[in-house]
């Protein structure tokens, strides 16, 4: 188990470095930079003039952000800063360290993501189970038709539909705000509903596979009902493939959901992330990209570890290793 973990962590670190390198290259290759984003005129003094600061200050800024150093030095400053959690300050929000931005926005995004995924899973399980138990029946076909519709609808469209229904027509729920619990209902549903489509289809298929396996016949032969076979036996084994899908999805939501944040005016990470990319805010781009990479990598590790929780064969094999 320890060896498995050590090897996985080593791979993760290598992947992390590769991602940081690629992000850095792409970022540098994108035309323009923060300090001359809108200026084609060369020379520090010209840019400085346009900002209304003296060339000396501009020089100091460039030095402070290591913009004149070789690329690998710049790259290493970002990576080192991220790894030690001593990140630089943002270009866009001068005086604000990127770690502060992440500190405030990330927990919010994580909370939103967890609520959305939990809601999605909770809705998807009964749908998937109902469909699987009536394989190819009208209930199955009907539910899977709606699931397909759900999958095809993007979150922002769902958000707009929900706003129209619950806020404009029924006046039941608020659209803007993030302080009261009811403020979260619409954003969470907007994120959860499109997920329900994919998850319930996935669960249905893997549950049907399980229900066709011999051990389910074994349960029936003992006098068990189909629903016992599902809830006590097959469902647990079918959740395993679903975890593989849910993990990365959760990671994606945790690092911000631009559309939903914009629609509901929420202070999530996606907002800063996209803003940073638009204005070439190098430190914030790097740090948010690295955070994204870390969350995805950690999530994949977590998914693999969860496998052991669900499958005793992996767990016991781990005990030996």
């Amino acid at each position: 188990m320890v060896r498995f973990l050590a090897r996985r962590l080593a791979y993760m670190f290598i992947a992390f470095l590769c991602i940081s390198l690629v992000t850095f290259m792409l970022m540098k290759m994108a035309p323009g930079s923060f300090f001359n984003a809108n200026f084609q005129v060369n020379g520090v003094s010209a840019v400085a003039g346009s900002y209304g600061v003296s060339p000396q200050v501009m020089d100091a800024l460039i030095k402070y952000y290591h913009l004149n150093d070789p690329w690998y030095v710049q790259w290493w400053y970002y990576v080192h800063g991220f790894l030690t959690w001593h990140m630089g300050t943002s270009f866009e929000y001068p005086g604000t360290r990127t770690v502060t931005i992440i500190d405030t926005a990330f927990p919010f995004s994580v909370r939103l993501a967890l609520m959305a995924v939990a809601t999605g899973v909770i809705i998807a399980i009964p749908i998937g189970v109902t469909a699987a138990m009536r394989e190819n029946g009208w209930m199955d076909v009907g539910l899977m038709f709606f699931a397909m519709l759900g999958t095809s609808l993007p979150a922002y469209l769902v958000a707009v539909l929900l706003i129209v229904l619950f806020a404009l027509w029924l006046h039941l729920l608020p659209v803007i705000g993030f302080t009261h619990p009811q403020d979260f209902i619409l954003p969470v549903l907007s994120l959860a509903l499109p997920m329900v489509g994919a998850l319930s289809r996935y669960l249905r298929n893997s549950l049907i596979d399980s229900l066709h396996s011999e051990y389910v016949t074994g349960v029936i032969a003992k006098g068990g009902s189909l629903s016992r076979a599902v809830w006590r036996h097959a469902l647990r084994n079918s959740l395993l493939p679903m975890i593989t899908v849910v993990g990365p999805q959760l990671a994606g939501l945790m690092t911000g959901t631009v559309f939903i944040e914009e629609i509901f005016d929420l202070p999530g990470l996606g907002h800063y992330f996209v803003g940073a990319a638009n204005v070439r805010d190098y430190p914030l781009i790097m740090d948010s990209a690295l955070l994204y990479a870390t969350v995805i990598l950690a999530m994949n590790l977590l998914v693999d570890l969860t496998y052991g929780l669900f499958d005793p064969r992996i767990r016991r094999a781990g005990d030996l290793g």
């Binding site: 396996s213 051990y215 016949t217 003992k222 006098g223 068990g224 036996h233 084994n237």
Partner: protein
């Protein structure tokens, strides 16, 4: 004595992808309390489908077209699924061919073993565990308390088959159906399992149906044997006569191609031709006619029915039945 289980003219068809496969075409058999019946036949002869149909464990695309399965006079084919559940595991229980496939890999053996007790509200908690551990000991599993908490993958095939047998017996069924219980096991383990099954059957006074493709196993383990071909019963014979005095040409063919130590120098002769293709419409006459060495004109026209050739010995063959009648006349 009335039979515990009586199957009358059972037929099962599989409808899939617009193709029909006629797996069982009129099987009649019966088992009395405390007796054991062997069902033998080659692969595809419908023996496994027959016993699964008795337990109503066939997939949904299987249609039991006709016939009756009477458990103490009650037709289980006409029971609701809820009533059927009360019978499965309690009145009749099943041991399957591949124990590793028929147990949930992610639950402990113990939790699956006590399930029939819980499902039929016979016992729960510590009492269920005590009974399960006792039964594990009875079927010959060392350190049953430890084994109770282990997972199926931690067992060998033979040990896991003992668990399956314990699981089938835990609710004290009247009828135990063993569907090729030793096919997946090696020969030494096979003998142990069969001995165990025979002993348990005798100690508990239950009836047993043993499905096997091995005639010697059937003859040694059971009181009576039915031979199946093409989803029909072609012979019903007391087991002591199976190897020496079977009358149907197919049964004799099976015996001729079974290698045995007692006649080690004779080379087994295979039965000519191919098994019946059950996806095509069935031939009008005897299903075995195309491969039969003793075929007469009548065989391809009329389907022979089971006829008595001796006490407790019936054959579905014109030639064999005719010979027996002649023999009786001469005596």
């Amino acid at each position: 004595m009335a039979a515990l289980l009586e199957v009358r003219n059972l037929a099962v068809e599989f409808h899939r992808d617009r193709a029909v496969s006629r797996a069982v075409n009129g099987v009649t058999l019966s088992v009395e309390r405390g007796k054991s019946l062997g069902i033998v036949g080659e692969s595809g002869s419908g023996k496994s489908v027959t016993v699964k149909a008795i337990m109503r464990l066939l997939p949904r695309y299987a249609r039991s077209a006709s016939g009756a399965v009477l458990l103490e006079g009650q037709d289980v084919m006409r029971l609701s699924e809820g009533r059927m559940r009360h019978l499965r595991g309690r009145r009749m229980a099943m041991v399957f061919q591949d124990p590793h496939a028929y147990l949930n890999p992610t639950k402990t053996v113990g939790s699956q073993l006590v399930e029939p007790l819980i499902l039929h509200r016979l016992a729960a908690g510590a009492e269920a565990k005590r009974r399960a551990v006792d039964l594990l000991r009875l079927v010959g599993i060392p350190s049953p308390e430890v084994r109770f908490t282990q997972y199926p993958f931690e067992f060998s095939g033979g040990m896991l088959q003992r668990v399956m047998i314990a699981m089938a017996l835990i609710a004290d069924p009247d009828l135990l159906i063993a569907d090729e219980p030793t096919t997946a096991l090696d020969v030494t383990v096979q003998a142990q399992i069969l001995r165990l099954l025979r002993k348990l059957k005798e100690d508990r006074g239950m009836a047993m149906i043993l499905v096997t493709h091995d005639l010697v196993v059937a003859a040694q383990t059971c009181d009576e044997v039915v031979v199946m071909y093409g989803g029909t019963v072609v012979e019903r014979v007391p087991s002591h006569k199976l190897l020496t005095a079977s009358a149907h040409p197919y049964a004799r063919g099976l015996i001729a191609c079974t290698p045995r130590i007692s006649n080690a120098d004779t080379i087994p002769t295979p039965i000519a031709g191919q098994p019946l293709n059950l996806r095509e419409p069935l031939p009008g006459g005897c299903l075995f006619a195309a491969r039969c060495p003793d075929r007469v004109a009548q065989c391809t026209e009329v389907r022979p029915q089971l006829e008595d050739v001796a006490p407790d010995h019936q054959v579905a063959c014109f030639v064999a039945a005719g010979a027996a009648k002649e023999g009786a006349v001469h005596e």
